[in-house]
Amino acid sequence: MSATVEKRPAHQLDSAAIRQQFPILSQQVHDRPLVFLDSAASAQKPNAVIDCMADTMRTQYANIHRGLHWMSERTTEAYEGVRDVVAAFLNAPSREEIVFTRNSTEAINLVAHSFGALLKPGQAVVISEMEHHANLVPWQMLRDRAGIELRIAPITDEGDLDLDALRDLLADGQVALVAVTHMSNVLGSVTPARQIADMAHEAGAQVLFDGSQFVVHRKTDVQALGADFYTFTGHKLYGPTGIGVLWARKALLDAMPPFMGGGDMISTVTFERSTWAHVPHKFEAGTPAIIETIALGAAIAWIEQIGMEAVAAHEAELTTYALNRLADVPGLRVVGAPHDRGGVISFVMDDVHPHDIATLLDRNGIAVRAGHHCAEPLMRRLGLTATARASFGVYTIPSEIDALAETLVRIRNFFV
């Protein structure tokens, strides 16, 4: 009925070798082999990351930045070394522009708080209709706190950012920041970041990209994109939870007041006043996620060894294959048809609710996400309350997509 695995052109990834590095993929769920198609929510972890965390705790761990002993110095070196790894990963001009946060949500909240503190009532922030709540709610909170205006750039019916409408929103010169996703977690739409950055800059605005989904799938170059702020999270990038990244141009970080106060972010403290450490430490209060940060470095080293180009090619091929297979499922409709789609596919089925789809797929060992995907306004825009979503990672193989498509046909038959 459709292409078999053998007929498909060979891609550069050695899927079998990659899968062997993910111990969880040999688990059974409901007596079936696990088919994990929920990487956009959080990716599984390779041995390189698992071992790095355990080895850090076993052999090289102490608090950082303040210890005068050998263990502390070595751990500080490992932790700070990851700043260089991340800077290279994003092609950031300077390691000092890398701020470690808990996740992308915290990174965006940091910008909303600290860049937000520089904004004046009447200025505006533009987001899009397809933002994750993480890039929506912090701006609403800033609006209510600081009297700024929050403008929403619409998307087209296909699920692309409407650039003409964005241009109109920028026209009055009141916009201080355009904060949009680099890749939608619901539609998979990759936004034309360079174009958006150019439009924002022409209007005198800064630009922030939420790269939580994008960095996992494609090579990211913040300088080529013309970004001013860029955020991502470690756990979607095969790394641990609890570690995220904010990259921002140094001039912006220097101008912004701190986010949280505490240890490690100060220069001097008296009861009368405190002065702040230099960036990035100004934004890293308290003992950070030391083990997770070090393991994020391992995750990035691991994915770069495979190569982002090979990852991108693998996922583009899988996505095309999946769209073809899903087109054969009766009653199924893929949501959106963006110009450029990453490895994320949302779908709905006539007469079968997404939660019932997810539960029945799970009974067959297949993990997908169902719900509003933390993007309720987007769901409303699409006229839906929920979708089911399959998302792909480096370890996803065509036979898993076959299993998805075949099980969806049976689910449809079960209900209709």
Partner: protein
């Protein structure tokens, strides 16, 4: 792979049938009491409308937007509570919730003074015990019922 889909344990035939062809969906022209239930996690919504004849529930209709579990739960609830007194429906509600978490049904009643009711077809939802994330789907219509019954003295 087998031809069927492994879901029969959870999705009893009765649940699938009632989700597809509900018998009690719709609106009442002049309901005496109404209640709503919403699940913000999935967007499911149900509205329950009842008429009371003296002290009995005489007519029940529901308007449900949700998954198969939620749809069928609303429909089977409507069927089961028709003819009961409000207090009896509340007792049944507690028994139903207790069944979903596999708790002892008698311990869910008030000091053992309540007469337990037969859950009957509502037992089709018992397999949800192994699907905790879906229990709230089955309970949503009962949340709406509780709100409706809060308007009457029991």
């Amino acid at each position: 792979m087998n031809k069927g889909v492994d879901g029969s344990a959870l999705y009893d035939r009765l649940i699938v049938e009632r989700a597809r062809s509900p018998l009690f969906s719709g609106r009442l022209e002049q309901p005496d009491i109404t209640g709503e239930g919403k699940n913000p996690l999935c967007g499911d919504k149900t509205r329950v409308e009842l008429t009371l004849d003296q002290d009995h529930i005489s007519l029940v209709r529901h308007h449900t937007r949700g998954c198969a579990i939620c749809q069928a739960a609303a429909d089977l609830m409507a069927e089961r509570i028709t003819g009961l007194k409000p207090a009896e429906a509340q007792t049944l509600s507690r028994q139903f919730s207790a069944m979903l978490v596999a708790a002892d049904v008698t311990s869910a009643s008030d000091g053992g003074t309540e007469q337990p009711f037969a859950l009957g077809p509502l037992e089709a939802f018992a397999p949800l015990q192994a699907h905790r994330a879906r229990i709230r789907c089955a309970e949503l219509p009962w949340v709406a019922l509780k709100e409706a019954l809060s308007h009457v003295d029991v």
